[in-house]
């Protein structure tokens, strides 16, 4: 299969699941359903969930799977039109004016002609939103608007306008409308509430932590070389850890980091000492680490192993 050629859109939920699976994204069926609907209905997909549950990843995988270009707009506080939509290339414009003066040599230079010249598309710097509307040869791009909760309300309102018409007006040039609307994926870590008006234009999906079975499948898929006992134990441990009263629970990204760390250390089984030494890959707050390290880790590990043994007996 040629990955760079544009793929046609999946025609059923099963196909969507399979498409994601082919590119190592093991999705819940409900997520696949929402994604399938978003593609079919040409609605933006709004993904909300804790950090590290694979929200951004889905856009990357989708772009890869469909052979579409991925355009990413990383949001931050104070994001404005100049960095999200377009900006004029001022130094070049200044040069152009200076040049026109030098050639014309006097004040009779036709101002109107110069203005037209200076505000032409070649002096326009396209930022992600405008790029996404421009499209490309391999079909409408995937537009990832990442961590929308980091921007402020005015940008949200602006986005509302763009997402409903898929067009942007630049005063000096005119209105640019997308021939084919891009596939929009918006993610939010919920550090603040996004306004309902924006969410209503999207299909909403809450991305949860994966259950043990799916998490194990993800670890095994992403780390083909991992010892099966290790992967079972670490997934079982992480699942128990999420039930603890922590300030920040580990996401699937942290599980994968941890698995990677353990593989790099050539380990095949989980031990308490090993957990204590590598806990930093899993937990990112000192309070959480202090709480788990030592006896608590030992207790969780024992519990995890017991659970696994129980599962094996049940299966046998």
């Amino acid at each position: 299969m040629n990955a760079s050629a544009a793929q046609s859109l999946p025609t059923s939920i099963e196909e969507t699941l399979e498409l994601l699976g082919q590119h190592d994204y093991i999705a819940e069926r409900s997520l696949a359903t929402t994604l399938y609907l978003a593609l079919k209905m040409q609605k933006p997909l709004f993904l909300e969930g804790e950090a590290g549950v694979g929200k951004t990843e889905i856009a990357k995988v989708l772009a890869q799977a469909l052979g579409r270009p991925l355009i990413r707009l990383q949001c931050y506080e104070g994001l404005d039109v100049a960095s999200a939509v377009y900006e004029w290339n001022y130094p070049r414009q200044m040069l152009e004016i200076r040049l026109a003066e030098a050639v014309g040599g006097d004040k009779t230079t036709d101002k109107a002609a110069l203005a037209k010249n200076v505000f032409a598309s070649e002096f326009l710097i396209e930022r992600p939103l405008l790029q996404a509307l421009r499209g490309s040869e391999s079909g409408a791009p995937i537009l990832l608007i990442d961590e929308l909760d980091r921007t402020d309300e005015p940008f949200e309102a602006f986005l509302l306008e763009v997402l409903s018409d898929f067009q942007i007006t630049i005063p000096e040039i005119g209105t640019i409308k997308a021939e084919q609307p891009p596939l929009v994926i918006i993610t939010s870590n919920r550090t603040r509430e996004i306004h309902d008006a924006l969410k209503r234009r999207c299909l909403y999906h809450w991305v949860d932590y994966p259950d043990a079975e799916r998490e194990l499948a993800i670890v095994n898929r992403k780390m083909p070389g991992i010892a099966s006992q290790l992967s079972e134990e670490l997934v079982s441990f992480v699942q128990l850890l999420r039930e603890e009263d922590l300030f920040k629970q580990p996401g699937i990204a942290e599980t994968l980091d941890w698995a990677e760390a353990l593989v790099q250390l050539d380990k095949v089984v989980l031990e308490q000492e090993l957990i204590d030494d590598t806990l930093g890959a899993l937990l990112k707050y000192q309070d959480d680490i202090a709480q788990i390290r030592g006896s608590e880790a030992a207790r969780l590990l024992e519990q995890a192993k017991l659970k696994l043994a129980g599962g094996r007996v049940a299966n046998a």
């Binding site: 409900s30 609907l37 506080e77 001022y90 200076v118 509430e193």
Partner: protein, 391 residues
């Protein structure tokens, strides 16, 4: 499994009544999303119940909190769309189960019961309500705001309306046109240059500022009861004076009341608040409530340089259990933590209670809050922003 509708008309009808049920139980469902739902269901089909669930929730939901209510409505409605007739039968056996006490199902049951029944059934649904209320475990008291004296209201209102919190504004990364600003606005400069004949008139801009997030956490336990009315007035005034204000009250549990306080009319606002909050004048569990705030809310409301006003007397039923850690976490999540304590009015006040001792090391300012006058002192303290901690 699912009732397969023969015609599109039947499906649309079912979706419509499902949407109505959701709306009646408090979810904001627009007409547009019903149309979307019809389209989505046609795409997904009706073969699988799980797919239908995923499909409808992606269209109807806009936030994660709605999921629990939606799930219950879904399982109730789509097992049999003739729910209105069957509803009562379906609900009666579940009344005794413990889940029925949670407010979500109560809202749903109320929504199901609104005006859809013949009169004799409506009477029975009244019994439902009575039983739910009686079965609540905690001693919950409905605070009666009518007891507030007329003069008291007038005086407090007047004073609170004049109250402006002089919190230092935070610089935004956005710009504002300003002729005497420090930064050259290239875009406007070039446009102006095009209009002029031979000069380039420089245009300027400056950075915008915005209000930092302000979180008010107010203790409404028994020991605070004589003050909590006044603090509610205060919170109402602040909420309507500036943006990014988040108000919480806590006793044995934390309640988010910003939405109720956002009513312009103070009487409506207080009425709504008093209905929404269930633990007026009970015990206090400061540590547990702050923990709840830290875990569920701090990252959502305290981003980008927020300020916390903690209103409490520091008298804790749990005797400071876990309070230290939570205060530590809270003080590190915000730019400034101000503690308003009505007990400070006693001159010989000594922070002997364990709760107070646990909290004191983590606050940036410790201010008295027992009268209108002391609120004016608060204003003075807040205007000295920036001296203690760098933004």
């Amino acid at each position: 499994m699912l009732p397969t509708p023969d015609t599109g008309g039947k499906l649309a009808e079912n979706l419509l009544s499902f949407a109505r049920l959701l709306r009646a139980s408090g979810l904001p469902i627009g007409t547009g999303s019903i149309l979307q739902a019809t389209e989505a269901v046609n795409l997904v089909g009706l073969e699988s119940r799980a797919d239908l669930h995923a499909c409808l929730s992606s269209v109807f939901l806009t936030r994660h909190e709605q999921q629990a209510l939606f799930d219950q409505a879904f399982s109730l409605f789509w097992q049999n769309p003739k729910i209105i007739e069957r509803m009562l039968g379906a609900m009666l056996p579940t009344v005794q189960t413990p889940q029925q006490q949670d407010p979500v199902s109560r809202r749903l049951s109320e929504a199901l019961n609104t005006g859809k029944q013949p009169p004799e059934e409506a009477e029975r649904s009244l019994e439902f309500d009575a039983r739910f209320t009686a079965s609540d475990q905690e001693v919950l008291q409905q605070k009666d705001f009518a007891q507030m004296s007329v003069e008291e209201i007038a005086a407090a209102k007047l004073a609170m309306q004049q109250l402006r919190l002089p919190l230092q504004e935070i610089k935004s990364r956005r710009f504002l046109v300003d002729g005497s600003g420090p930064v050259i606005d290239m875009r406007r400069t070039l446009r102006a240059a095009m209009r002029q004949s031979d000069t380039i008139p420089l245009q300027y801009k400056r950075q915008r500022t915005r209000n930092p997030a302000l979180v008010v956490l107010c203790d409404i336990s028994g020991s605070m009861s004589q003050y909590s009315r006044m603090f509610l007035h205060f919170m109402h005034a602040v909420t309507n004076d500036r943006d990014r204000v988040y108000s919480f009250v806590f006793g044995t549990r934390l309640s988010h009341i910003s939405r109720h306080l956002a009513h312009r009319d103070i009487d409506v606002a207080l009425q709504k608040t008093s209905e929404a909050v269930e633990d007026w004048s009970g015990g206090t569990r400061i540590g547990a409530c702050l923990g709840q705030f830290n875990r569920q809310w701090s990252r959502r409301v305290l981003s980008q340089g927020g300020i916390v006003l903690l209103i409490s007397d520091g008298l804790d039923r749990d005797e400071g259990l876990g309070l230290k850690q939570e205060m530590d976490r809270l003080s590190r999540s915000c730019r400034r933590l101000v503690w308003l304590n009505p007990l400070l009015r006693y001159e010989k006040f000594e922070p002997k209670a364990q709760g107070i001792q646990a909290m004191l090391p983590y606050v940036d300012d410790f201010v008295s809050a027992h009268s209108i006058k002391s609120f004016k002192e608060l204003v003075e303290v807040l205007s000295k922003d920036g001296e203690r901690r760098a933004a």
